[in-house]
Amino acid sequence: MLCIVGTVPAEDFPLMEGMVEMNGDGLCMQTTTIPINRGTPALIAAAAMSARALGRPAPFACLVGDTGRGSGSARLYEKMVGLLPRNRFQTIAFHYLQPMVDWHGKIQAAIALLVPRPILIADAGFMYVAKMSGMADVGELAFLADEQAPHPFYTRGFILHEDNQVPELISRAYKHGNAARYLLVKGSKDYLADSGGIMETVDSPAEEAMEAIGGTGDTLTGIVSVLIDSGMPIREASVVAMKANRLAGQLAGPTPATQISEIIRHIDSALRLALDNKGQ
């Protein structure tokens, strides 16, 4: 089972766990409706659409409200430390959580005791705090590549955030031990890399406006999480997800003003297309 751990941008959203389904233009968890905007709700919606396309169960999620104060994230970290030993998640995607070094250490300690060990996917705040894990866009890759920066805000100027430097930045991130076993980087060209170098690239279809649209990294994380949880090898899952995310964008006919919910509507058909054309 896939478990998604993240936050909802509302302080009064309670600490909740359970299956999440698409419900019209929103998400439904127990009896609560969650609007789909960028952030963890966009990731869950992309995962739910992908699960539907694959005939997989809806994703399980552990959520809390947090608007950046961190108190919700702290409660969720604490909840996960207790919940992890009692569940057998095959894949866990950690997402928008306030970076907290102490709680990250406790989560890692709890995961280290799990047998079998789940596949971990980290994006957004959890990637910042780990600085050793999976998903990044080009700006965040520069942060991973800067061995001194504790947050992208401090990425040094000489490490420029340019797409044409991605291979060099990936190499630098691995050299300093700041990347996970696999690193998936979203940009004008998407990359999958490991410590041996770049394994795969995907650069079509290309829609320049996608860079401006908030949430396209969230959707990529949601799609790849479901594919990996389905048992697909990580390399293959990453390529299919990169293609599907781009196709969903193209199907939406995007402009810089397009909202992520308009792209999510197309993930079901985009993923089917990417799977049908696998290997091409």
Binding site: N37, R38, T40, T67, M132, G139, P152, G215
Partner: protein, 186 residues
């Protein structure tokens, strides 16, 4: 790097990226990034020469900031902050190296739309209407909240990220927001 040393061992520090130690400066430590952002606004409005910086490794938690200030203005600053109800947890002379925030903007034009990026945060506006149409990048949990609060509003109506944000991503978005305002008024 000390912050992540427990994960993967320490690495030698290249000091070319960080500021020289300034013995005439101190830094203020607060309970939260929210208070840092409020204090910076207050002190700058008061005409004081302060800067938001990254804390030294021994007090760093992951997503935090400190305010660097001239030691000579220490008492005035403490009085101002106490009067505003946001006293710092401590005021410490700078004896080590503080991290320099990113200072590079990237600007991209998509026809009628303008996108400005500061660090990992991107803000896009429709130049014809002055409307904020998208906010992308960032990983701290105030980013989706900031996007929900600002997208669909004009630059005039939208709340400033420093007024409702709490994290370094929120602070980076403030820099992008100020640059967009500068570009649109030019």
């Amino acid at each position: 790097m000390a912050l992540f040393g427990f994960l993967k061992g320490n690495h030698p520090r290249d000091d070319s990226s960080v500021r020289d130690v300034r013995t005439d400066r101190g830094f203020l430590v607060f309970d939260s990034t929210t208070e840092v952002i409020q204090a910076e606004k207050l002190l700058k409005n008061d005409g004081l020469s302060v800067r938001v910086m990254g804390p030294p490794p021994e007090i760093r938690q992951g997503c935090d900031l400190v305010i660097e200030f001239p030691l000579i203005d220490g008492l005035r600053i403490l009085r101002t902050l106490e009067a505003a109800g946001i006293p710092p947890l401590k005021a410490v002379p700078v004896t080590g190296l503080l991290l320099e925030p990113v200072g590079i903007f990237q600007i991209k034009h998509y026809g009628r739309y303008l996108m400005v990026r500061a660090a990992n945060m991107k803000l896009t506006v429709d130049r014809q209407t002055g409307m904020i149409v998208n906010i992308s990048g960032g990983g701290c949990p105030d980013v989706p909240f900031l996007a929900a609060s600002m997208v669909g509003k004009s630059l005039v109506e939208a709340p400033a990220p420093r007024d409702i944000g709490h994290t370094l991503c929120g602070y980076a978005l403030q820099l992008a927001y100020e640059e967009v305002q500068r570009q649109c008024s030019a």
